[in-house]
């Protein structure tokens, strides 16, 4: 990493390292090598988009790459029918949710480092050929397009895949607020809650998201 304009606090630095490691480690349905390849593909697509060049489309024969691409550059264009199409191509809901968690967390840490003016965190060499198979057996379709544990909601979006769900909560707590802290409308973490919410709302608007 280059010398940052501002110092990255220890908690955030540790999160960046945990997140980078997880990108190259076997997950519930994907090997470490596949996860790392998809993470690198996501970074390339994000860089193309930032440069205002059309991101190179992934191979039509590679649904995992296509999902990665869509979640990276055009998440607001995702529809239920497209998710169903991926299932018909052999992508399980757990595959889909695992890739979603991976790309979403990678985008989060890369936005953070870009904002601070430092290089993206380097991904370590891939490790782990065998997926863990850890999938929530009590998840069911409940208002969303993939199974969730309980009704589909912001905190439950990744709950089909516990490792990604827990990693999302970890990032949410370090970068913003933990779920219990969400009720503190007077929180102050370098920014007052109102200021944090202004950044959150503007980010969501730019992403055409309405939460």
């Amino acid at each position: 990493m280059t010398q940052p304009v501002v110092e990255i606090p220890a908690a955030e630095r540790a999160l960046l390292e945990r997140t980078a490691r997880s990108m190259a480690t076997a997950g519930p349905t994907l090997s470490g090598g596949t996860r790392r390849s998809l993470a690198e593909a996501s970074r390339a697509a994000a860089a193309d988009r930032a440069a205002s060049t059309d991101p190179a489309p992934p191979s039509a024969n590679d649904p995992l790459a296509e999902i990665t691409h869509r979640i990276t550059v055009a998440p607001a264009d995702i529809r239920r029918s497209w998710v169903r199409e991926q299932e018909q191509r052999g992508v399980s809901s757990a595959n889909y949710v695992e890739i979603l968690g991976l790309v979403a967390r990678l985008t989060a840490i890369d936005t953070f480092t870009f904002g601070l003016g430092v290089e993206p965190v380097e991904l370590p060499p891939a490790g782990g050929d065998d997926p863990t198979g850890r999938i929530a057996d009590d998840a069911a379709l409940d208002g969303g397009w993939v199974p969730t544990v309980g009704p589909a909601s912001p905190p439950s979006a990744l709950s089909l895949v516990p490792d990604e769900h827990e990693a999302m909560l970890d990032l949410h707590g370090v970068f913003y607020l933990s779920i219990p802290e969400m009720g503190d409308l007077d929180a102050d973490r370098g920014l007052h809650r109102t200021e944090m919410e202004l950044v959150a709302a503007r980010t969501s608007l730019l992403n055409e998201c309405f939460f």
Binding site: V5, A50, A104, A108, D110, T111, G115, L205, N207
Partner: protein
Amino acid sequence: MLRASSERTARAADLEAIVDPLRDSLLPNGAALLAFADAAVLRDGEEIGPARQALLDRAGPDAVVRAAAVAGNFEMMNRLLDAVGVAVGGRQVALADELGLRVPDHLRAR
């Protein structure tokens, strides 16, 4: 949550600034935060340096770290909600209407 935190803590905020960053949000450092969020989320290599420095000068390094982190967190959460099809509830639809935005039909709660 901006409206809720603003009302609960008696800090004035103009939510229209979310859709019109040239408008005064009434929040401390509001303009600098909006410019920083835009540059970070759009990965604008020309704008991010000046935006970061302006926020640093006005609010200090802790504010820059948190602004980058919050933008990152919502980059994550927005993708989760879009990709899982979490429905947007009535309160959020009403706020979107108030700000002149239209929630797409496929995301409206049924």
